[in-house]
Amino acid sequence: MVTADPTLSFDVDVTAGDGRWVRQGNHAIWSGRREPGEPPYVLHEWTERGVRPFPRRDDNAHMRRVPAGTPYHISHLFGFWIVNDVDTMLLSAKRGETDYYMLVVGGLTDGLREASCLFVCPKCAARFGEARFAELRSGYERFLDFALQRVRGFNADAKQRTCSNCGAIHPPIYGFHAEADTPEERAAREAG
């Protein structure tokens, strides 16, 4: 019989910032970095009254909770909006000249079951094109693959990019992983 020791704990090195998600236990964790000269990641949350940005204000560390059910977007990191069924924490800290970021989604024993991706009109802040992914238990990366397909369909179809509220046409956007960008997505990511 083959037996293995159970995992007691594990580490996620935020300074490595390899841009991958770790999904184990009750959390999904991502870490990334921005070097000098790169625009910082900026958290945006959707509210009934419009979009609220949460920029880093100084070189101190910051930690922001995005409540479950609140759509959020991080400019230069992903161009669509995410809604999780559990709270999300964004921790950012500066070390030397580099900004480090960590996203922690989850915590509850029965959480991390589903997430949605959607779009928000930059002219009137209306939400549209919301699509639910109910298989989060199979890994957070699978949700991001699902979202990338939605992003590509969105960019390819002006009708999908047309706001049903005000008629404005949403510019092209980008997925989560920069290395998968098409030239159009890369330009959108750089623009933020």
């Binding site: 070189d59 101190n60 400019s75 509850l108 024993t109």
Partner: protein, 221 residues
């Protein structure tokens, strides 16, 4: 700045109380454990070393619960007691059910039913370093436990449980104090049933409440 046209035009501080948990005005709320939304959070200022007395700690102004630079972290698994290195900006994710103890910080083994993440945030321009703790809020029968294992043979010598899933965290510190004081006042509870070793006194996470004997124990393990 794709969304600049639809930004909510109000200062963040006025509309979102806890927009930054590490903000100097918000952080003091997290010096114990604070449930917020789906999670429970705590912040611990990192001092260079354990203050020798309660008075010295109060002069340092690090808050009632402290972390110290020279602390060591331990976990218990099938291979026994193992030391776990901690590095600034490396998140340590402790899976539910793992007994863990941090030297000089709390004098017992904590076992929770929720996965727990800790990360050391190094000092920045105008702020000291902090340990940030986060975990999901327990629900239903999910609980927190305080345990002591024999320092000689690692057998469990004493354990109590608080069903935080039902009772929440409002009684956590009273429970901690009552449990530690009961353990310390009864040598039988501290005596290993297996090898007969009498184990050292426990101590609270709330270090400002140490008795002189508990402070002595804090400096040792």
């Amino acid at each position: 700045m794709m969304y600049a046209d639809v930004y909510v035009d109000e200062p963040l501080d006025k509309v979102v109380d806890d927009w930054d948990f590490l903000n100097e005005k918000v952080l003091p709320k997290f010096l114990g454990f604070r449930p917020v939304g789906h999670g429970v959070y705590g912040m611990r200022q990192i001092l260079p070393e354990t203050p020798q007395s309660v008075e010295q700690q109060q002069q340092n102004g690090g808050g009632p619960i402290i972390a110290v630079k020279n602390r060591r972290h331990w976990e218990i698994g099938p291979r026994g007691v193992v030391e776990v290195k901690r590095t600034p900006l490396v998140a340590h994710v402790m899976l539910a059910g793992t007994p863990h103890h941090t030297e000089h910080v709390y004098g017992y083994w904590h076992i929770n039913d929720m996965d727990e993440i800790t990360i050391d945030v190094p000092p920045a321009a105008d702020r000291p370093g902090y340990v940030v703790l986060m975990q999901g809020h327990p629900k239903g029968n999910e609980a927190d436990r305080m345990a002591w294992y024999c320092e000689q043979c690692t057998e469990l010598v004493h354990m109590t449980e608080l069903v935080t899933g039902t009772l929440g965290f409002k009684d956590f510190w009273n429970w901690e104090r009552a449990t530690v004081r009961a353990y310390n006042s009864d040598a039988k509870l501290r005596t290993c049933w297996n090898c007969g070793h009498v184990n050292p006194l426990g101590y609270l996470a709330l270090a400002t409440q140490d008795t002189p004997q508990e402070r002595e124990s804090r400096l040792k393990w």
